[in-house]
């Protein structure tokens, strides 16, 4: 899993049937300092996240497990919303690794 910021919505009309009714969000992957790291991704939401939320997401085949019962084709699913930026806790905050 990795931290990410939700930076937008993705609207798609023609899509796989298993994606019907699913919320597609654009996320920017973040490092532990909450700085952008790597490329933006399209993620499916499973926890009610929205634009601006600090979230974490699951990659790979495991990303489809929150939707058990329907074979949702995804490799990137938001599985949690971090309570706030101060809930990313580590002693070395501010120090460069």
């Amino acid at each position: 899993m990795q931290l990410a910021r939700v930076i937008g919505n993705v609207v798609s009309t023609v899509k796989n049937n298993a994606l019907l009714g699913r919320k597609l969000l654009l996320i920017q992957v973040l490092d532990h300092e909450l700085a952008a790291s790597g490329k933006p991704l399209v993620a499916i939401d499973s926890v009610g996240a929205g634009t601006g939320d600090l979230v974490f997401w699951c990659r790979g085949k495991e990303a489809s497990f929150p939707f058990e019962g329907s074979e949702v084709p995804t490799d990137c699913t938001i599985v949690g919303i971090v309570d706030s930026e101060s809930h990313v806790k580590f002693a070395a905050r501010g120090k460069k690794l």
Partner: protein, 92 residues
């Protein structure tokens, strides 16, 4: 599995139900010499790892899910499965 250093943890109230009671740790993958390698990731704890520990992280869904929740099939891609005491590198 990869080596990583535990940086800290993350608190989330609203999350997938399978993450209930789990500790979500923030870890930095490292090289054997301790230098950082690549982006930091989140991994569920299964061994009571603490901040600054060098740990072993498994990055495969079945193993990560089973190790950290006791059951497979959860949306978990990484778990801490061991705390490293020391590494002996053969330099010859």
């Amino acid at each position: 599995m990869i080596l990583a250093r535990v940086l800290g943890n993350v608190v989330a109230t609203q999350k997938n139900s399978r993450y209930a009671n789990a500790r979500i740790m923030l870890v930095q993958p490292i090289n054997p010499d301790g230098t950082a390698r690549g982006a930091s990731i989140l991994a569920l704890d299964s061994v009571d790892a603490g901040e600054d520990d060098i740990v072993i992280v498994v990055q495969e869904g079945w193993s990560a899910s089973t190790a950290s929740t006791g059951e497979p099939g959860a949306a978990i891609d990484s778990a801490i499965v061991g705390v490293v005491d020391f590494i002996e590198e053969d330099v010859s």
